[in-house]
Each structure stands twice: as structure tokens, then as C-alpha cells.
């Protein structure tokens, strides 16, 4: 079979990959002399392995296929290569001959592979292809593994090693010149739409075939332009979005609504105008995969649903009272600079006027600081900072601005109506690690139900430790060393050092809500929070 024929037979099922199929077919053709190494690369979901396997099975070349992502260690990979080779050659029952099925090093693999390829029957002695899928994602791979595997083909003449990579290879990454590369580029707009139109259309009951065949191509193109193209989505996401949105898109037709403008029939433009909101809300949520999918069974409700979700508070977990209080203190400890502790938490200075002034001063300073940070960030993102500034210059005194000014007494420094860059107390300062003793001290300061006689009540430190351990298991509060790199601390490690620092690991809005439930106002304590 000629490479052209191979490509043609494959393109019926896997369209738009003609060139690659032809390249692969000519390189791997049983009649051409064996290639030692071949690199196939392209981002995920570009049909690399499928086309490769298709070519190999169409050409009837004996081959072994190993998914490297399923191998836990390099040794596992080597063993697996050996077995799948034996299996492909039909020598599975003779495994004891080849190192007893064990293979711990690439050099052993070379010897064993050579042996078992040499043991083939005379008429089968042709090309043998070994495909290593996603080999660049191999876990625990030694740095020389790739180049060593690439050499296998040179040592064993009849073997061809195909390395499938999902990242773009660096030049000469195999330490070997002139290795042929076949690239699988991402699908272009035209190709993607073509592929999707070739696959069967999602079925919608009560929809006339004629309407759907007329509207669907436009719909697919619109989806690509609005959602898939800009986000570099793959074909599977493209397909799933189309399948999810199509029934909603044609819902007006199915429900028998009369088209606007006195027309008797719905066409694409009218449907699009009708469904503007659909693209805004559903489209964006369609891009984000959620573990629990939102219910799309009732199309009439869905248009209102996204709004309801954004307004409803996210479900708060139910933590016991004491743990909530500890979490709140941990948050405060993380977000207050340590040198301001005496000003913010000391009970001796809490009522005096000067202390209040000092506190207000520091809060304002921190707030300005954080705003400056937020604005820098906004400017860096080239975000809506410019329109907001324009608005601020010509602020008129209206009722709403007045009430805002009352709500935030330092209206001169803060943006009217709360600038877009500041969403809540969470953005004020990033969480900083704190020692355990500081948490205990702050806990005593913020406790809304302090014991009546603090001298005679027992210390609560020991109870705090117990609850803190639970919070740590939930990863709401984490040891600061583990905060930087999760992989460095195993989850089993629970030893706490004397000077060990901790850090809170959740957002402030969330803790604010929780703390309100037990009667603590976070903003009251927080530097820069409430003013």
C-alpha cells in the first residue's frame, strides 16, 4: 500500500491530518529501510497517537505501544517496554529466557530487545516499531533516558523507536543529529470547524431537520470564534461546548416561540440575537469544567441561573465555633504586620483616644499602600484603571457618593464606590507566616466571649493545638515551610518545631463570612480593613 492510500483511508475517520499520515506512512513503510529513531510532537489532542497507530495497523507493521504516563518509575517503563515487545512478537510464554522478565537499566533493555528480535522466525524478520507515548512526561526519569532510548534503534538494526512528545522538543535534545521529526500542529479554525461538522450533530427533539442543518454550521463557527478560538480550546472541548449549548440555542424553535419581526421562521441571526445572554453566561461557564456539572436539563431556567449563582454566597463549610475562632485569629495573624500588634490587639490601649488615632492612622496607611499595589497590578494588566480614573476626576456629589463617603470615612483616599481593583480585605496584604505563640496571643485578643476571670480559667493553648491540627489536615492553615513547595513536605509529616511558622491558606472574604457567624468582625481588627 502506498503512503497516499494510507492517508486516504485514514482521513475518512480522522480528517485534516493528511500530510502527517503520509509522512508517517512513508517513514514507517515496511519496504523502506528501518529508521532508527523518529520524533512525533504536538500539543495534546492533536491526534498524534491515533494517527500513528492507524498508520501502523494499516501498514501491518509489527509494533509495540507503551503509554509512558502509566509507568510510575523508569524501571517500570523499561520492564513494560520489554513485555509489550514480547507480547507483540508472540513470545510471551518465553519470558523467562529474557532476563526473567526483569529489566532495570537501558543497557539491559538493549541486550534483551536484541535477543528477542533475533529470536523471531525467519519470515517475520522485518521492521519492528516501538512507540513510546508521552515519553517526555515520564515520572522519575533519569536525564539520560530519552537519548538512551533514542540510541536503541542504532544498536538494533531492525528496531525503530518512535518517541511521541507533547511538548515542542528543544533542538538536539536527543544529543543526536538528523533525527526526523513529524510535527502535529494544532488544528486551524477551518479544520476545527470541518471536523466538528463531520461528526454527528447533537440530537434535539422536535427540531426540524431542515432548520438544524441550516443553522448548525453557523452555530459551530460562532462558537469557535467566541469561545474556542480565543481560549485555544482543543477539539474535545469544542465538541462538548457545542453539544451543551446547541439545545439551549435552539430552545426558542423547539418551544414554538414566534420569531420576532413578523417573520414566520427562525434563522440564525434571530436566534443569535435572542440568545445573546446565553453566550455571555453559559458560554463562559461552559469553558470551565466543574466536577459537579450545573443542571442544564431545564433550558428555560438556565438564563436566570447564572445570575442567581453569582449573587448567592458560596456554601460555607460548617466549622465548630472554636475552630472558626482559631482560623480567624490565624488569618489576622497572617495579615497584620507584627510590629503593629501592640497597637491593634493590646487591651491596655484599646479605649484611649490616642490609640484609636494611631490605629486609624496605620489602617489608612496600609489601605493606601494596598490600593497602590492594586492599582499597579491593574495597570500592569492594562485593565479598567483608566476609565475609573476618569470617573473619579469629575465626581459629583450625589446621594450614593455621600452614603459611600459615610460608609468609608476616608473617602478622600479611597476610590468612590470601592475601586475595581479592591475586592475585599483579602487583597490588602498577602498572607505572611506567623509563629504559633502569636496566634495564641491574638486568639485571646479577639475572643468575643472572653472568660470572666482570665486568671483563674485554665489556659486554652492545649485545646488550640488540637484544633489547629485538624485545621492543618483541612489545609486551611499550613506550616509556612510547606506553603512554598507542597511537594517538599509529605502530608504525613506533622512534627512541629518550636520556631516553626504557620500561614493561613484561604481567602479573606471566606473567613470574614465565617467569622461573622460567630460574632467576630474581621474588619474591626484588620489593618486597613475597616475605617
Amino acid at each position: 500500500m502506498q503512503p497516499v492510500d494510507v492517508a486516504r483511508s485514514l482521513s475518512a475517520q480522522w480528517p485534516c491530518r493528511d500530510i502527517q499520515a503520509r509522512q508517517l506512512a512513508s517513514l514507517l513503510h515496511p519496504n523502506t529501510p528501518s529508521l532508527s529513531t523518529l520524533v512525533v510532537h504536538g500539543v495534546s489532542a492533536t491526534c498524534k497517537s491515533t494517527i500513528l497507530l492507524g498508520v501502523l495497523s494499516t501498514l501491518e507493521v509489527p509494533h509495540a505501544f507503551v503509554r509512558s504516563s502509566e509507568c510510575i518509575t523508569a524501571r517500570h517503563l523499561l520492564t513494560k517496554i520489554l513485555w509489550s515487545t514480547l507480547e507483540a512478537l508472540g513470545q510471551k510464554d518465553e519470558w523467562e529466557k529474557y532476563g526473567k522478565g526483569r529489566c532495570e537499566h537501558v543497557s539491559t533493555l538493549a541486550v534483551l530487545l536484541e535477543e528477542c528480535l533475533a529470536a523471531r522466525a525467519e519470515e517475520q524478520r522485518g521492521k519492528f516499531v516501538l512507540v513510546l507515548d508521552e515519553i517526555d512526561r515520564q515520572r522519575e526519569a533519569p536525564p539520560t533516558l530519552l537519548s538512551a532510548l533514542a540510541r536503541l534503534g542504532e544498536i538494533i538494526p531492525s528496531l525503530c523507536v518512535v518517541l511521541v512528545l507533547s511538548s515542542t522538543p528543544r533542538p538536539l535534545f536527543l544529543q543526536n543529529a538528523a533525527v526526523p521529526h513529524v510535527s502535529f500542529p494544532p488544528y486551524t479554525r477551518k479544520e476545527a470547524i470541518e471536523i466538528l461538522l463531520a461528526s454527528p450533530m447533537p440530537l434535539v427533539e422536535n427540531l426540524p431537520d431542515e432548520t438544524s442543518s441550516r443553522v448548525y454550521p453557523h452555530f459551530v463557527a460562532t462558537i469557535y470564534d467566541t469561545l474556542v478560538g480565543p481560549t485555544a480550546g482543543s477539539i474535545p472541548t469544542f465538541r462538548s461546548i457545542c453539544h451543551r449549548l446547541w439545545p439551549l440555542f435552539v430552545a426558542p424553535v423547539v418551544q414554538g416561540e414566534a420569531p420576532p419581526g413578523g417573520n414566520t421562521e427562525w434563522d440564525f441571526t434571530r436566534l443569535l440575537v435572542k440568545n445573546r445572554a446565553l453566550f455571555r453566561h453559559q458560554g463562559e461557564s461552559a469553558l470551565v469544567h466543574r466536577i459537579v456539572p450545573e443542571d442544564t436539563s431545564a433550558p428555560s431556567k438556565t438564563l436566570r441561573k447564572p445570575l442567581a449563582i453569582s449573587t448567592a454566597p458560596s456554601a460555607l463549610p460548617h466549622l465548630p465555633y472554636f475552630s472558626t475562632l482559631i482560623l480567624t485569629s490565624a488569618y489576622l495573624a497572617s495579615h497584620t504586620p507584627q510590629r503593629l500588634d501592640t497597637i491593634f490587639f493590646s487591651k491596655f490601649s484599646s479605649s484611649s483616644l490616642s490609640a484609636r488615632n494611631k490605629r486609624a492612622h496605620h489602617r489608612r496607611r496600609l489601605k493606601v499602600l494596598s490600593q497602590a499595589q492594586a492599582e499597579d497590578r491593574a495597570a500592569a494588566n492594562d485593565d479598567p484603571s483608566t476609565p475609573r480614573k476618569g470617573k473619579r476626576t469629575k465626581t459629583r456629589i450625589t446621594k450614593s457618593t455621600l452614603s459611600n463617603a459615610f460608609a468609608t470615612s476616608s473617602a478622600t483616599t479611597s476610590a468612590v464606590g470601592g475601586g475595581a481593583g479592591i475586592t475585599g480585605p483579602s487583597t490588602i496584604l498577602s498572607a505572611r507566616p506567623f509563629p504559633l505563640e502569636r496566634l495564641l496571643a491574638i486568639f485571646h485578643a479577639v475572643d468575643p466571649n472572653p472568660p470572666e476571670n482570665p486568671i483563674h480559667t485554665a489556659a486554652v493553648a492545649d485545646q488550640i493545638y488540637a484544633e489547629l491540627a485538624t485545621l492543618r489536615r483541612l489545609r486551611l492553615v499550613v506550616p509556612a515551610s510547606g506553603h512554598v513547595g507542597f511537594a517538599s513536605t509529605g502530608s504525613g509529616n506533622t512534627s512541629a518545631d518550636a520556631g516553626e511558622k504557620w500561614c493561613v491558606n484561604v481567602s479573606g472574604d471566606w473567613i470574614g463570612e465565617l467569622a461573622k457567624g460567630i460574632g467576630v468582625e474581621v474588619g474591626e481588627w484588620l489593618a486597613g480593613g475597616l475605617d
Binding site: S69, I72, H289, V292, E437, A459, E467, T470, R473, G499
Partner: protein
């Protein structure tokens, strides 16, 4: 004397025992004495035997050791009998609580496959809140069901079992195979294969197993998903996803915070591998309330937990992470300490008179605060002969005590009946989500405050305003077990006839209803007077008002009669356990407090050779304690030389010029290293010759 007074007495006695000094606990070394061959099998059988033996006399005789053996035996038996009954009830409740979620999860596992989830791993997210233990109960029952139907099994993985990818895979495979084959089966499975021996973490093993057993559903449950390392979770899930075409995985994730938070922490790539459903397990609080209700309101109850114990128990559940199991353990401890330490508990076990006839026991009864109250009441009632009899005739006393125990038990049962009645009524009268539950009501009832409380008053006032529809519902929901002299049946029949006769009218209203009163406006001397008056009531409404009045009156009477103060009952010490202290002390250990106290006041624990009342710091104390007290006096940064000078000064002041410089220096060093190992000081980075304080006392 009230319970607090009793506790004080206990505290005092404890304090006295502290003067004995400290005891060092040295556990007997288990297992092999030298030269003896250890044998695992023999050990198991022998410990069983010993366990039975020690069971016989595990309760020591009380009353200064003069209690007879039968009594202590009887106490033990009564305890076992009582607790086993309660434990059954608790188990039944726990199972019942999970039943709904279990059915949901089971049907989810059965119905979902990768095909129905768009090629993702079918995932059940189970939010358990603070009710952490419920998931393991649920999973073991799910496992039983799946095993019984031969569909597969459940593999539970905890964060502790998963330090890295290799060992977590190994654990998963081993658990999946041992689940059905047992441990030997797993070893056999590893060795008896056609091909070469596979690595322990190779999912090919699991694949083989699944093929061989025909498993349709392999549920992998991560009990505490938040505690898993996110990177590891990602690796595991992507592996499962790639094997999904060969091994039918279903993943169950236990989440203690919220789904959003959990999802937000996972990498996007990981989230896109999962799809499924969200399940919610009931809160621990509800579960505990139900357990408490069933324990206390049992119509055959013998022993009750008093107000102090109840409030300690409930506080523990509401304020801390606590499982229902832990709650029931605490209750068990309370029961146990009652029967273990209270000689009067023997009266609960229907004792034979012979076992009881013990002068010491009678003496104990005569010393009870409730006995004194009882006698005073008798004297006031004018029967001094009875009192004399009680004081002098042991037999008469025991007879009275026994009869009062059972009478007291009855009135306790009635108290909780009344609590249930109020609870049933409140379901109708209180609007909104914040309803008082049985535990809150019980706490009030146990302190004798429920009858005059706001809750009861509000309830009765609301009942008055009910129209006939609501009243009908209320009457139906009242328990049938109320005493007959309430005449509730009569009220019911009268009500039914009245409603039947007036079926065509609107619902009947009593005169207390807002709709039945009108506001009159009169102008008197240019002032407007508003006066409320009753609207003209129809015949039926007047009749209906009469019924409502009868009902409210009957309820009021019933409540005043039954809701008495339990502490006023004679012999309440025998059937009401209300000591806060053993429970609170034992379930909240305070190591840090003890450590600080030992260092700051070492003679609280150690025997002092001289009178310790003088100077606070003396050379007689251990060196570490001296240094710690000096350390307490310093600021956040301490100069080591100053510390040494002060330390030396303590010894110098005590021993004069004879003290040995080098000796004290070595003491100082060892004390300092002790403090360092406690984590109380560390070297300061700011000043090289200073120490930084890292722990403060009394936090």
C-alpha cells in the same frame, strides 16, 4: 449540697493527694522476659483468658474498701447491661442517619460509568462537615453492599497511607485485593501468576484482578481529600483516568470544607478529569442531638446525665471537631464513672436485700445532702417519728431509699416526657429555622428552669391564638402517653365534635386571636383614644375558646406538676450523674499547662524538703525550674550573661561563699539546654549574645 459543692469537695481531696508527691508511671514491659520464647499465637489466647479473669473484679470495692463483693459485682453488671442497651440504640441511630446518603451514593455508583460522565472519572463528592467519622461508616456499609452483590468493592485511602505515588498505589492495590481475597490471597495473587512477578505498584495487577473477578465497580474513596498532597492527587487521578478503559474506577472524595474551596485548590487539569455528583452528610450536631435525646428520654431509663454533664458534652460537640462516636465515648465514660465510683449505684441494679444490708452503705445514704433535705421536709410536715426511724433503723432506711429511687426514676422519666411534649408543641408554635431542640430544652429541664422559661410561656401564648386547623394538628401530634388525668381525650373528642358541627364555617378562632379583637377609635375632648376590644364572637368561637382554655390550662398544670427540680428528689445522687469534673478533666488534657506549672511551681509536684512557702526561687528547686522562673521575669530578648548572673545569684544567696562555681555553671548549661529542647528559647539573630524568648506562660 449542690453538685458544685460536691466538686469542690472532690477538688479538695485531690489537692490533698498532691501532697504525696509525684508518682512516676513505669509501664510494665509487655511481651518477652529474657530467655522466654515469644509466641504470637499463645499470647493472643492467654490475653483473652486474662481479660475474662480481670473482668470479674474490675470494679474495686468502695466505702473505704468495706463494700461487699456482691455489691461491686452488681454495680459492674448493671453498668454493662445498661450501657449495652444504650450502645445498641446509638448504633441504630448512626446507621439510620446515614441511610439516606448511603442509598444515594450506592445508586450513583451503580448508575454511573465513564461513558455517562463524558469520559471523566465518575466522582462523588461527599461533604461531611465536621462529622468526620461518618464517611468511614458510610464506606464500610457501601463496601458490604457492593461485596454482597458481587459488583466490586471499596478501597479506602487516607492521606496517611499516601506519602508518595508508589506507596499509595501499592496500598490501593493491596487493599482492593485483600478486601475480597484476604491477606494470604494477596500474596498468592502476587506469586501465582503466569507471567513474571509484577512490581507492587503496577496497576496491571489490579487490572488482572478486576478481569479475574469480573468486578464492575471499583470504588476508591479518599477519606480526607483535603489532606492529600495536591500534586500526588493530580498524579493519582491522571493515572486512574488513563486506566479507566480497563479498570472501572469510581472515586469518592470526602470533603470537610466546601466543594468550591476544594475544587479551587486542585489544578484545572485535575478538575477536568472528574465529573459527578455532590452528596451531603448530616451534621454531627444533629446526630449528637438525636443520640442525646434517645439516651435521656428513654421511657425505661434508669440513669440520667445531669445539667453540668450535659452542658459539658454539648459544648464539646458544638465548639470542637467531634464525631458522634467521640460523643458516645464521653457518655460511656460518664456512665462508667458513675457506676465505678458511686456506691449508691448499686441501688439501680434491683439488689437483693441481703446484698444491701451493710451499715456503711446506710451511713453513706445518711450523709447525702438529699437525705438531709428529705428529713427537713419530713420534720416540717410534722412526722419526726419517720425521721427517727430513718436515722436509726437501717432496714427501714434501705426500704425507703429503694422506693424513692424508683419514684425518682419515674419522675425523671416524666420530666423528659414533658420535654418531649414541649418539643412537639414547639414544632407548631415556633416559626423560622431557629427552633429549640431537645438538648436545649433538656438542659433547662435538668436545672429546673423549663417551667417558668420564656420558651414554655411563648409556646402556651401561641397555642392560645391558634385557629382550629392548627390546633387540630397540634392535638394530633401530642404523644398519646400523657397521663390520663390531663383529660386530653375529652378535649380531643369535644374539639372533634365542635369542628364537625361547624365544618362549613371558616376555621374557628379563639378570642385571643388578633383577628378577633378590634381597635376602637373614639374622640374624647379632641383626643383620639384607641381602645382594644373584643369583636363579637360567634357561638362556635366562644365554644372553641373554651376548649382552647381547657387545653392550655391542662398543659400548664401538667408542666408545673412534672417539671420539678431534679436535685430536690431524695436519692437523686443514685440515678442522676452530674459531676462535671472527671469528664472535663479527662477529655481535655492540658500538657502545656502542666509543663508550665511544673516549671514555675515545682513543689506543686515534688516533695519539698524544706518549707517552700518562703522565697519563690530557691536553690532547692531543680535547676531547670529556677532558670525558667528567671526566664519568665525577662523580656523578649535576654542577655545570656545576665541570665547566668541571676542564676548564680540564686545559689550564692543560698550557700554563701561555699558554692562551687563550675558545678553551678554545668547546672546552668543543662538547664538551658532543657529549655531549648522544650522550645522555649532559641538563639537570637539580632544579637549574638542574646537569647530570644519563644514561649509565654499562660496563653
Amino acid at each position: 449540697m449542690d453538685p458544685e459543692g460536691l466538686e469542690d469537695a472532690l477538688d479538695l481531696s485531690r489537692d490533698r493527694s498532691q501532697n504525696h508527691g509525684v508518682y512516676i508511671y513505669q509501664p510494665a514491659k509487655p511481651g518477652k522476659a529474657t530467655g522466654e520464647r515469644p509466641s504470637k499465637r499463645r499470647k493472643v489466647s492467654s490475653t483473652d483468658h486474662r481479660g475474662q479473669k480481670s473482668d470479674v473484679k474490675c470494679f474495686v470495692p468502695l466505702l473505704n474498701g468495706e463494700e461487699n463483693a456482691e455489691s461491686s459485682q452488681l454495680r459492674h453488671e448493671t453498668y454493662k447491661q445498661l450501657w449495652s442497651a444504650q450502645e445498641h440504640k446509638i448504633q441504630a441511630i448512626l446507621e439510620d442517619v446515614d441511610a439516606g446518603v448511603l442509598a444515594d451514593v450506592l445508586s450513583f455508583v451503580r448508575e454511573n460509568s465513564p461513558e455517562t460522565c463524558n469520559g471523566c472519572i465518575p466522582t462523588g463528592l461527599v461533604t461531611v462537615g465536621s462529622n468526620v467519622s461518618s464517611l468511614s461508616r458510610l464506606l464500610s456499609r457501601l463496601n458490604d453492599q457492593l461485596l454482597a452483590s458481587g459488583e466490586g468493592g471499596v478501597v479506602v485511602l487516607e492521606s496517611g497511607d499516601a506519602p508518595n505515588l508508589k506507596s499509595s498505589l501499592k496500598n490501593i492495590i493491596r487493599a482492593a485485593i485483600t478486601n475480597t481475597e484476604g491477606n494470604d490471597g494477596y500474596q498468592k495473587f502476587l506469586t501465582d501468576r503466569a507471567g513474571p512477578r509484577l512490581l507492587g505498584y503496577d496497576l496491571d495487577l489490579l487490572n488482572d484482578y478486576v478481569q479475574r473477578k469480573g468486578t464492575k465497580k471499583l470504588v476508591l474513596a479518599l477519606r480526607d481529600s483535603e489532606a492529600f498532597d495536591p500534586g500526588l492527587l493530580m498524579d493519582l487521578l491522571s493515572l486512574f483516568n488513563s486506566w479507566l478503559d480497563r479498570i472501572p474506577f469510581t472515586v469518592l472524595l470526602g470533603i470537610s470544607t466546601s466543594v468550591e474551596l476544594f475544587e479551587g485548590r486542585l489544578p484545572r487539569a485535575c478538575v477536568s478529569l472528574l465529573q459527578g455528583k455532590h452528596f451531603e452528610v448530616q451534621e454531627a450536631g444533629n446526630c449528637v442531638d438525636r443520640i442525646y435525646e434517645s439516651l435521656q428520654t428513654d421511657p425505661q431509663g434508669k440513669l440520667w446525665l445531669g445539667r453540668n454533664v450535659t452542658s459539658t458534652l454539648l459544648e464539646k460537640t458544638h465548639d470542637y471537631f467531634q464525631t458522634p462516636e467521640a460523643f458516645s465515648r464521653m457518655v460511656k465514660y460518664a456512665y462508667m464513672s458513675h457506676f465505678f465510683a458511686n456506691p449508691l449505684a448499686v441501688l439501680l441494679g434491683n439488689p437483693a436485700p441481703a446484698t444491701l444490708s451493710h451499715p456503711r452503705l446506710c451511713e453513706a445514704i445518711r450523709n447525702l445532702p438529699s437525705f438531709r433535705m428529705f428529713c427537713e421536709d419530713l420534720l416540717e410536715a410534722g412526722s419526726p417519728d419517720d425521721v427517727r426511724n430513718l436515722l436509726e433503723n437501717d432496714e427501714y432506711l434501705l426500704q425507703e431509699a429503694l422506693s424513692h429511687v424508683s419514684a425518682g426514676q419515674q419522675s425523671m422519666q416524666q420530666i423528659f416526657q414533658a420535654v418531649l411534649v414541649i418539643h412537639a408543641c414547639i414544632q407548631h408554635t415556633q416559626q423560622g429555622s431557629k427552633k429549640s431542640n431537645v438538648s436545649d430544652l433538656s438542659v433547662r429541664a435538668l436545672s429546673g428552669e423549663l417551667n417558668d422559661s420564656q420558651v414554655a410561656d411563648d409556646m402556651l401564648a401561641t397555642v392560645r391564638t391558634f385557629d382550629s386547623e392548627k390546633l387540630g394538628l397540634l392535638l394530633e401530634s401530642l404523644p398519646k402517653t400523657l397521663p390520663a388525668d390531663l383529660a386530653l381525650e375529652d378535649i380531643r373528642t369535644d374539639f372533634a365534635t365542635l369542628v364537625d358541627a361547624n365544618a362549613e364555617f371558616e376555621p374557628l378562632r379563639s378570642e385571643y386571636n388578633i383577628n378577633s379583637s378590634v381597635v376602637k377609635t373614639t374622640v374624647v375632648q379632641q383626643r383620639i383614644l384607641l381602645s382594644k376590644g373584643k369583636a363579637n364572637l360567634s357561638e362556635q368561637d366562644i365554644e372553641y375558646t373554651r376548649i382552647v382554655d381547657r387545653l392550655v390550662g391542662a398543659l400548664q398544670e401538667y408542666l408545673t406538676e412534672t417539671l420539678i427540680q431534679p436535685q430536690e428528689l431524695f436519692m437523686h445522687e443514685a440515678f442522676l450523674f452530674d459531676l462535671r469534673n472527671p469528664l472535663k478533666e479527662n477529655f481535655t488534657p492540658r500538657p502545656r499547662f502542666a509543663l508550665e506549672r511544673a516549671l514555675a511551681n515545682p513543689f506543686d509536684y515534688l516533695i519539698s524538703s524544706t518549707d517552700a512557702s518562703g522565697a519563690r526561687i530557691s536553690a532547692k528547686q531543680p535547676a531547670t525550674a529556677i532558670l525558667y522562673q528567671l526566664y519568665l521575669e525577662s523580656g523578649a530578648l535576654v542577655n545570656i550573661h545576665d541570665l547566668w548572673q541571676a542564676f548564680y545569684g540564686v545559689f550564692e544567696g543560698d550557700q554563701g561563699n561555699t558554692c562551687d562555681d563550675r558545678m553551678i555553671m554545668s547546672l546552668f548549661y543543662s538547664a538551658l539546654s532543657d529549655l531549648k529542647s522544650f522550645g522555649m528559647v532559641k538563639n537570637s539573630r539580632k544579637k549574638t549574645d542574646h537569647l530570644a524568648k519563644s514561649a509565654w506562660m499562660g496563653l
